[in-house]
């Protein structure tokens, strides 16, 4: 196991370096930072002074080395808007996104396992067809449209739920979570169903029944673990999508997460904060991928076998 973990971390370090360099290029090579940061009316003296103050007048290589040093110490400079540390702002916004994404995925996975297994238990039954139709609809629902409709119906017309914000009881979670949940849930139900249909028709399921195992034991004890790998992979992808795509939902619901921070930073040319936010998100996604690989290894011994080099 430790060998497996080590290899996995080493192999994901390389793309992470690429992301770190990519963030550097984004900020420096897309144009003159002074033009991006300073107002159009700025004088040439102001520009020169700005470049010198931020080290932009130095050779690119030395800027890169500085930048790498800063990444290691997690120092992205100060926000232009607030003057606070950019890294601090990104890290403070991140838990709100993680909570939202985590709650959503937990509900989506548990719900999808129940509904998907139920549909797979009797393929082509009425229950299966209803589940398939509904999950297909849910899986192809545009979240921004659903969010706006949700606000319109439940917040504006019926007044049951708040339109936005995070102040208040659990009711503030309802619309954001449902909006984020609906597509991953629909997709996952289909993956669970497909995977479970295959698993339930495997000979070892018959063997389990021949030992007198109860149906819940057969479905959840024997078939589910075999059906899990594709579900895990897709769930991981969807979680990455949630962390990235939180931009839309966080903006609509005024959720103070990293998505909203990124949008605000882009609109206000707050590059230091944007860089920090992108990097925090990237590291999270890499960590998530390693976590998913570890789960695969835990579920199936065949994955753990390390091929001798």
């Amino acid at each position: 196991m430790p060998t497996f973990v080590r290899r996995r971390i080493v192999s994901s370090a390389i793309p992470l370096v690429v992301v770190v360099l990519g963030v550097f290029c984004l900020a420096r090579l897309t144009g003159d930072p002074a033009k991006l940061y300073l107002p159009l009316s700025a004088t040439p003296e102001m520009r020169t002074e700005f470049l010198a103050r931020n080290g932009f007048d130095r050779p690119v290589l030395s800027q890169l080395l500085d930048y790498l040093g800063n990444v290691f110490t997690f120092d992205f400079g100060e926000s232009l808007r607030t003057g606070q540390s950019a890294a601090g702002m990104a890290l403070r916004a991140f838990p709100a996104t993680l909570q939202l994404a985590g709650t959503t995925m937990l509900l989506a996975i548990v719900g999808a396992i129940v509904i998907g297994s139920w549909a797979a238990y009797r393929p082509n039954s009425v229950a299966d067809r209803i589940a398939s139709l509904l999950s297909m609809t849910a899986g192809s629902m545009p979240d921004f449209w659903f969010a706006i409709m949700g606000v319109l119906i439940f917040a504006v017309t019926l007044g049951w739920l708040p339109t936005s914000g995070v102040v208040g009881g659990p009711e503030v979670w309802v619309l954001p979570v449902i909006t984020l949940l609906i597509r991953p849930f629909g997709v996952l139900v289909q993956v669970v169903r497909g995977s479970m249909v295959t698993a339930l028709s495997a000979p070892y399921v018959k063997v389990a029944r021949s030992k007198g195992a109860s149906e819940p034991r057969v479905v959840f004890g024997h078939a589910l673990r075999n059906a899990a790998p594709p579900v895990l992979t897709v769930a991981g992808d969807l979680t990455v999508g949630l962390v990235n795509g939180a931009v839309v939902v966080e903006t609509i619901f005024g959720w103070p997460g990293i998505g909203k921070l990124m949008i605000d930073s882009i609109l206000q040319r707050d590059f230091a904060v944007l860089q920090a936010a992108v990097l925090v998100t990237a590291v999270t996604i890499f960590a998530l991928n390693i976590l998913i690989d570890l789960c695969h290894a835990l579920l199936d011994a065949r994955v753990r076998q390390v091929v001798p080099a």
Binding site: K206, V207, K211, G212
Partner: protein
Amino acid sequence: MSSTSTVALDVEGLSVDIRTPAGTARAVDGVGFSVRSGQTLALLGESGCGKSMTAQAIVGLLDPVAHVSDGAVRLDGTDLLTLDRAARRRLAGPGISIVFQDALTALNPVQTVGAQLAEPFRIHRGLSRRAARKRAMELMERVGIPDAGARMSAYPHQFSGGMRQRLLIAMAVALDPSVLLADEPTTALDVTIQSQIMELLRELRAERDMAVVLITHDLAVVAEQADHVVVMYAGRVVEAGPVKEVFAEPRHPYTKGLLESMPERVGRGTGLQSIKGSPPDLHSIPGGCVYQDRCPMVRDRCRTERPRLTVVDAEAGSDHSAACHFSEELAHA
């Protein structure tokens, strides 16, 4: 072949229908036989003749497209087909058990073999994890897996084909069933391993006084292992009886054809005979005898009247029977 032991399994008029896009087909048609404790009955036939379907109907593990449409399956006198699901589950393991053909897919790839071997004890005996594990280890030793203690936490893919089949057999005999079905247990194995597995089954049968139903297409295995044989063709029993009598004097042209296609029985220099043609499509089984299209001695009567399974030689006191109008003609042939 003592008749003092009790009848453990008695199958009577068992029929299985399967739903297919082309309509309902009768895959098993009125199959009947009985097996005594400590004896082996071979269910012999080529692929698709309904022998596996018969076995799955007996243990209640038919695929959803198939269902038992008629008949009785009596285990120690109780008709399994009249029991509810919970009652059948209670008998699955301690009463009747099955060994499947492909041990790689029959073992759960993501569970340790120890957990899988312990499962029968956990389900039926309510043993603790530790106690069930101990029983599982004893079982593993019994079926001849070396270093059982260490291999309890290994996974199926870490075992050889022969060892996997031993594990599957161990699981099936865990709770001393009165009837053990073995569905082509050696088909996927090479010859030396085959004989070891058959030897193991024989030992376990004697040791636990089980009735064994051996499903096979291998005539040599039948000759070596079984006391009685039931020959199936297109879902029906065409001939049944003590192996020695049936093999010495087959009274159905299909059985005769099968035996003539066995290299061991045909002398050197003689051409090997094969049965021409192929079994009928289950959707369009002809009226009369199922074997009419391939039978070398077919007559008009075979096309209209279905032959019943009848005892061929009532005076001999044997239960050797055949479903052929002209089985007399095969006597002493």
